[in-house]
């Protein structure tokens, strides 16, 4: 459940993170889009202005060029006309030549002032014009055409540098939009004698200006000084409408519209943004030199920014796709991350559970000291200092039948597997030594069990000992473990051990049992190689030499003090270096038996009828020890049962044998040692009687040994020198 809870929390966290990433990504994308849009617009706007302005300038240059030709032609003509002024008829040929030389000139006149040539009447104006059939010459000065009143004539009189007329429709001639350049001709005395004109078709101009297509839907406007539309988007507007009227129209009636029209008329150069309902136009305008006409280029905003809008749309779509992709990626990442996390969590959980399991096993190892506070013959102390990683060190001990079973071991490798093997090793030791009293056989059985299930090829070095607490005799067997030390009165020595092979290596291995006697006050100091291989920062091992030095003079100290002193010595060596391996020490100090007060000895024949003698013997000891009636009776009962067993089973029927009973009264306990030279018989190996069974189920036998165990505090059997030795101890309450 907590894992699910975690997942959920994590999922939420991830969702929040994911959302955050998405939002930031979206914001950033949008920001880029806006910036891009802004700069694109700016760029496009600048481009539009550039294009409009350059188009305007180009147009103006072209127009100017054409007009220049016309003006130059007229100026040049002034001189020719002056030369032939005396010959009025020759003026025709001049106007004709004017047309011949200047294709842009549609018509040309030399309009004499009134009554200049008396012979020619009041008005005389030779005029040449071209049409589809060629160049023709007429005299404009007819009664129907009173040219001195025409604008081109009157204005020329006041414009010595020439005058461009307002555009007009040439109704008589080409039926086309025309403009006329007129210039006064002065005689030598400075009097005006004539006005020279050149008509120019504006067809090319409207074409030129009309063809200015900055953008497909852009259009141009050309207005005259008075505001007449010369070039307009609609044919109907041409020459029919004034720009001011157009600007006043409802759709365009706006401040900008009017301001634009007035600016054009005022001959200003500039640009305006004009709104026509939903449409927005950008207008660029510039006056044409000489004529005072004004040209404008109108570009619908859509045309300028359409591209960027379309681009913006594409970008937006791409960004949306990108975001969707991002969502997808985040989701996928989250899912796979979660899955990974799930696996990790499961692994962590398993590992922590295994750690807990090994922790439980560790905690089951005897760790409280003194572990047998009631015993004065034994002083023990053990310590496991685990490295950071869980390891596979173990020690264990227990007392059965007045014998101390103990072991120390080190599993190869580290980590959870090692600690599991350690747990197995420990429980095997407990199980096997529960009914086996020979150290070599305990190791052999453990080894067989371990090789059988050892799939990971782990092995365990192990040292097992069984100490007879009465005598201090230790029978021990080794499985590849390092030799323990004996902290004796004459100093420290390394116990002689057969190395043998570690447990779990080979099935069917045989181990050897060795024996030693631990004298009163001596310690058996067992340890794992984590002690001798403790490294300092310079990678120097603590080593056996240092260990032997540290333990050389420790006899006088208690088991705990001895271990503490070794620990201090190791710590000094290791200093700050990290601990690489478990460090385990088990120290067993034998204190010997308490002082003997009385010893009594009884020898019996293997005859049941001798039992009353035993009863008397026990009675004596009991009274000497100060036992009460009830306890005395129970001890009596235990002795009778034990001795009866020997009488009944140790010797074959019909043979004569002896039973020795030694009673030793010490402070706080009475010990009985029952020995015989009969065939090996270990009463302690018999199964416990189940006292909860019903009468029908209860077997007849087994009660005797059960009573002995129940009554006595310690019961131990050993076979020494072909003799059965049964040791019974009864503790005396103070």
């Amino acid at each position: 459940m907590p894992q699910k809870e975690n997942n959920k929390r994590f999922r939420n966290l991830f969702a929040r993170r994911g959302l955050l990433i998405l939002i930031s990504a979206a914001v950033m994308l949008e920001l880029t889009a806006v910036l891009q849009y802004y700069y694109s617009r700016k760029g496009l706007r600048e481009e539009a202005i550039n294009r409009a302005e350059s188009e305007l300038a180009l147009c103006e240059a072209q127009i100017s060029d054409v007009m220049d030709q016309v003006e130059t032609a007229v100026r040049n003509d002034l001189w020719a006309v002056r030369k032939v002024l005396a010959y009025p008829d020759s003026l025709y040929s001049l106007t004709q030549r004017m047309l011949e030389y200047n294709p842009v000139i549609y018509g040309s006149a030399v309009a004499m002032i009134e009554n200049y040539y008396p012979s020619k009447g009041r008005l005389y104006s030779p005029y040449s014009f071209r049409d589809s059939s060629g160049i023709h010459s007429i005299d404009l000065g007819t009664e129907t055409y009173d040219y001195p009143t025409q604008e081109w004539f009157t204005e020329a009189l006041t414009h010595p540098d020439g005058y461009w007329s307002e555009p007009y429709y040439d109704e008589g001639g080409g039926e086309m939009l025309m403009t006329t350049f007129s210039m006064p001709l002065y005689d030598k005395k400075g009097r005006t004698v004539a006005v020279l004109t050149a008509d120019m078709s504006l067809e090319w101009l409207t074409e030129l200006v009309g063809n200015v297509k900055v953008y497909p839907s852009a259009f141009s406007i050309l207005v005259s000084r008075s505001g007449q539309m010369m070039v307009a988007p609609a044919e109907t507007l041409v020459m029919q409408t004034n720009i001011l009227d157009v600007a006043a129209r409802a759709a365009m009636d706006s401040t900008e519209g009017r301001s634009f029209a007035q600016a054009m008329l005022a001959g200003e150069e500039g640009s305006r943004v004009i709104r026509r309902g939903d449409l927005v136009d950008h207008v660029f305008f510039s006056p044409l030199e000489r004529t005072g006409w004004s040209m404008a280029i109108v570009i619908p905003e859509e045309e300028i920014y359409g591209k960027v809008k379309r681009l913006g749309l594409v970008v937006a779509i791409l960004q949306l796709l990108g975001l969707v992709l991002l969502v997808f990626i985040i989701r996928n990442t989250a899912v796979s991350f979660l899955r990974l996390q799930d696996v990790e969590q499961r692994k962590d959980m398993m590992e922590s559970e295994l750690k807990i399991a090994s922790g439980i096993q560790m905690s089951m190892l005897p760790k409280t000291f003194p572990h047998f506070p009631e015993r004065c013959d034994l002083d023990m102390y053990g310590v496991i200092i685990p490295a950071k990683e869980v390891g596979g060190d173990l020690y264990d001990f227990f007392i059965r039948d007045d014998r101390l079973f103990f072991c120390i071991g080190d599993v190869s490798g580290k980590g959870v597997p090692a600690s599991l093997v350690m747990a197995v090793t420990r429980s095997l030791f407990r199980t096997v030594s529960g009914h086996e009293g020979n150290p070599d056989r305990i190791l052999a059985t453990m080894n067989d069990s371990m090789t059988e299930m050892n799939e990971s090829n782990m092995f365990v070095t192990c040292f097992i000992g069984i100490m007879d607490l009465g005598s201090g005799v230790v029978r021990y067997s080794n499985a590849g473990h390092n030799a323990p030390l004996v902290l004796g009165k004459e100093g420290v020595r390394m116990l002689d051990v057969h190395p043998n092979v570690p447990l779990g290596v080979l099935e069917g291995m045989r181990f050897t049992t060795q024996e030693m006697i631990l004298s009163e006050g001596e310690s058996l100091f067992l340890y794992t190689d984590g002690l001798t291989e403790a490294e300092n920062a310079e990678n120097q091992l603590y080593g056996e030499t240092r260990l032997l030095e540290a333990t050389a003079h420790l006899t006088g100290f208690s088991a705990k003090e001895q271990v503490d002193k070794v620990e201090v010595s190791v710590r000094e060596h290791v200093a700050d270096a990290p601990q690489s391996d478990d460090l385990t020490i088990l120290n067993i100090k034998y204190m010997g038996r308490p002082k003997t007060l009385t010893e009594r000895h009884l020898i019996l024949h293997n005859d049941i009828q001798q039992i009353p003698q035993l009863a008397d013997f026990v009675e004596t000891i009991a009274s000497e020890s100060g036992m009460d009636q009830a306890m005395a009776m129970q001890v009596n009962l235990a002795l009778e049962e034990a001795v009866t067993n020997v009488i009944m089973y140790a010797y074959p029927a019909g043979t004569d044998g002896l039973v020795d009973v030694e009673a030793t009264l010490r402070v706080g306990e009475v010990e009985f040692l029952i020995s015989d030279s009969g065939c090996p018989f270990d009463p302690t190996s018999r199964d416990e009687v189940d006292t909860s069974l019903s009468a029908e189920e209860r077997p007849i036998g087994g009660l005797g040994v059960h009573l002995v165990r129940r009554i006595m505090d310690e019961v131990s059997y050993s076979r020494v020198d072909d003799r059965n030795m049964l040791r019974l101890i009864k503790k005396l309450s103070a």
Binding site: I608, Q609, I611, A630, E641, T644, T691, E696, L703, G704
Partner: protein
């Protein structure tokens, strides 16, 4: 060790006196023969004077108890001393018999 068997109002009563140790058990197992024969009835064992009992003595009692349950009788123990009661407790015999007093 002395075992006296009497028929009384309550039924057959076996009076046990002295020490019922291993040697005594040999004789005792013969002495209780009349009780085994009447195991279909209620047998009362009076332990008022029983000072001591060993496992062989317990075995005799168990034999009697088994015979009684086979024949449909009952074994009642009365007057049991504290020391003997302790032995009965240790061996689980306390629950096998009806113990009075």
């Amino acid at each position: 060790m002395e075992i006296k068997i009497q028929t009384e109002n309550d039924g057959v009563v076996g009076y046990f006196a002295g020490r019922l140790d291993t040697p005594a058990s040999l004789q005792a197992s013969k002495d209780i023969q009349p009780l085994l024969e009447q195991a279909d009835k209620t047998i009362i064992l009076d332990f008022s004077d029983l000072e001591y009992i060993s496992s062989s003595g317990l075995r005799i009692l168990l034999t009697l108890r088994k015979e009684a349950s086979r024949k449909g009788g009952e074994v009642v123990i009365r007057g049991i001393r504290e020391e003997i009661r302790q032995v009965f407790l240790m061996t689980g015999f306390y629950n096998l018999f009806v113990i009075q007093g």
